[in-house]
């Protein structure tokens, strides 16, 4: 099997271990992909092919699953993942102003990464912390009661 140049040997060893533990049962596919992405950060077609050959699950099916669920990404994310919650409570409390500010300040549309590889901006579906709306997550950490003013301050903490 061809070596995947984008990942280190160590990463691939971890992935191999996961595949071995998961076996060839197709019902274990989604957890396997979740854990693999946890190690590699993203799931490009090359790794999908790799998993397919090892598990005998068709590459077509793996691609179908990866592109269906929003958790998976085929592109590497930037150093920091910024997720702005666009649930209803956040919408009512003015999350649209935050979207506008980010798009303007970083000259970017949501779903993309800044060119310097610092931030990936994503829209999140309700994280269930509606009491703190509007809510933003940076690398999984929840920031509540966001304002246009507090946005800069928080983002500045992440280099």
């Amino acid at each position: 099997m061809e070596k995947l140049s984008e990942f280190t040997d160590e990463q691939m060893q971890q992935v191999d271990k996961l595949i071995e533990a998961s076996g060839t049962n197709p019902s274990g596919l989604i957890p396997l992909l979740e854990k693999t992405q946890g190690i590699l950060g993203y799931l490009p077609p090359s790794i999908q092919q790799y998993i397919s050959e090892k598990t005998k699950i068709s590459a077509n099916r793996i691609y179908g699953v990866v592109t269906f669920y929003s958790y998976f990404t085929t592109k590497p994310r930037a150093r920091h993942r910024v997720q702005l919650c666009l649930g209803t409570a956040c919408y009512v409390k003015g999350s649209d102003a935050l979207v506008e500010k980010i798009e303007k300040d970083f000259n970017i549309t949501f779903g993309n990464s800044t060119e310097d590889g610092r931030f990936t901006f994503e829209k999140a579906r309700c994280v269930g912390a509606c009491g703190l709306a509007p809510v933003m997550l940076v690398d999984g950490k929840v920031y509540g009661k966001m304002t246009v003013e507090s946005l800069d301050k928080i983002l500045n903490e992440y280099e």
Partner: protein
Amino acid sequence: MKTVEDINKMRQDMVSKTDDKTVIYVHLGTCGIASGAMPVLNALKKKIKEEKRSDIELVTTGCAGICSMEPLITVKTAGYEPVIYKLMDEEKALEVFESHIKNGVAIEDYALARGMEYQLKERALNKGPVSGEKKMEGNIPGIEEIPFFSLQEVRVMHNRGLMDPGKIKDYIGRDGYQAVIKALTEMSSEDIINEVLTSGLRGRGGAGFPIGLKWKFAHAESGDVKYMLCNADEGDPGAYMDRNVMESDPHSLIEGMIIGAKAINATQGYIYCRAEYPLAIENLNKAIKQARALNLLGENILGTGFSFDMSVYEGAGAFVCGEETALMRSLEGKRGNPRPKPPFPVKAGLWEKPTVLNNVETLANISQIILKGATWFREKGTVKSPGTKIFSITGDIDNVGCVEVPIGTPVEVIVNQIGSVSKGKNLKAVQLGGPSGGCIPKQHLDVAVDYETLQEYGAIMGSGGMIVMSDDKTGVEIAKFFMEFCKDEACGKCLPGREGTKQMLFLLNKISDGTGSEDDIRKLEALCDVVKKTALCALCKTAVNPVLSTLRYFRDEYMNSVHTNELERA
């Protein structure tokens, strides 16, 4: 191997442990942690250590219910009633430690209430502390005097703010797993089904299907392999009741699953939980492990001969997976595409085996129905819809949080008395049921929340998200917001869902951005009708509801928008 006697002994030990000591409760739900509860907890831990106060018990619990006042702590000193403190930070918490714990003086400015939620009924009777507790001085309202708490009827959430979700002993001490013991030792599958049927419990995920009936159908199916599933894919934006239950009282869900499994003869269960809820997943996994260690899950549960085990399955982010057939495909490791019904899952569900799927809140109701009986359950709620429902009330109100009220409570009570509309905001409408639901405008706020009545008004009970909207947003904007969501989340399997949501959004954009006409409103209505009748699953069938509902109540805003545009163009 643990037996029924072992569990009962554990319970006895917990119940008889009534030593009256000083306790600090720190409430650690997702909201609390995000608001800074961890530094508060750590500061208190450090302080207790510094002062060598080993007599003080520090208890971490789940959410205390009123999210907008987080971080919350509750302080109880020996012999006195507890006091709940709101909006804590490290400094304030240490001030409370100095003043309340060391000098016995509560700090009025930081206090939210005297008393804890579980004491509500007795406190209301006594008009003060429960027996054995002395009143704390100071101008602090009793919890029974605060509408946010006093108007609630906490059944599903009866352990909230009181119990460490990471300790199965605490749960057992609160009568936990007594219902499982009863169901496994004294009741047959038919007995369980009958009790649940008589209780009239309906699905809390939104559709309101009678649970006993679903169980009866699955029970009647032959076959050795059946599955008991829990839908914890709480995808409606603005709804987080289920997260709250899973984080704060995970065992109540596990208990409901075991009893359901016995009713239908399932041996394996899964909780399908969305990945956006990491704390819920962590707490559930911990709880399952503890239950297994006490032989409450696994082979031959408590020596009763019944075997059942379960695990948590983490979703990968797709709104459509809240639909039952899509959820089962996802569990099988496939794309979460729904499929036509029949066959219904009770006949051919997960891996084509008979399967019951119930929502979190539904299952969390089960243990109390078994323990206290159907008659007790029917004491609250309406004849057609007995029991309580948890709503997460959010939006332009002061008291954002999870509230549990009897079904049939007027929307007005929930929004104005429990929630309290924020100062300077004019209430426009209350949105129920998220992207599948509709609005109740302010002139109809006296409407009772029950499955049938809400439908008459074009809204739905839904899973329990209740969003209070002020007149900052127009009806067109609200409809657009939800349609954008549905368009993004439509799975693409059926044409009406895939293309219909796209075209409806296109028309809504046109109407709101200044290029629409009256004809576009007519087209939008026609399209709603088509999608409603032809989409494959409930998600896109109901995706038209926010549009229809805003057209029904705020048609003038749609008309204004297109007329202004037509005038400008002329």
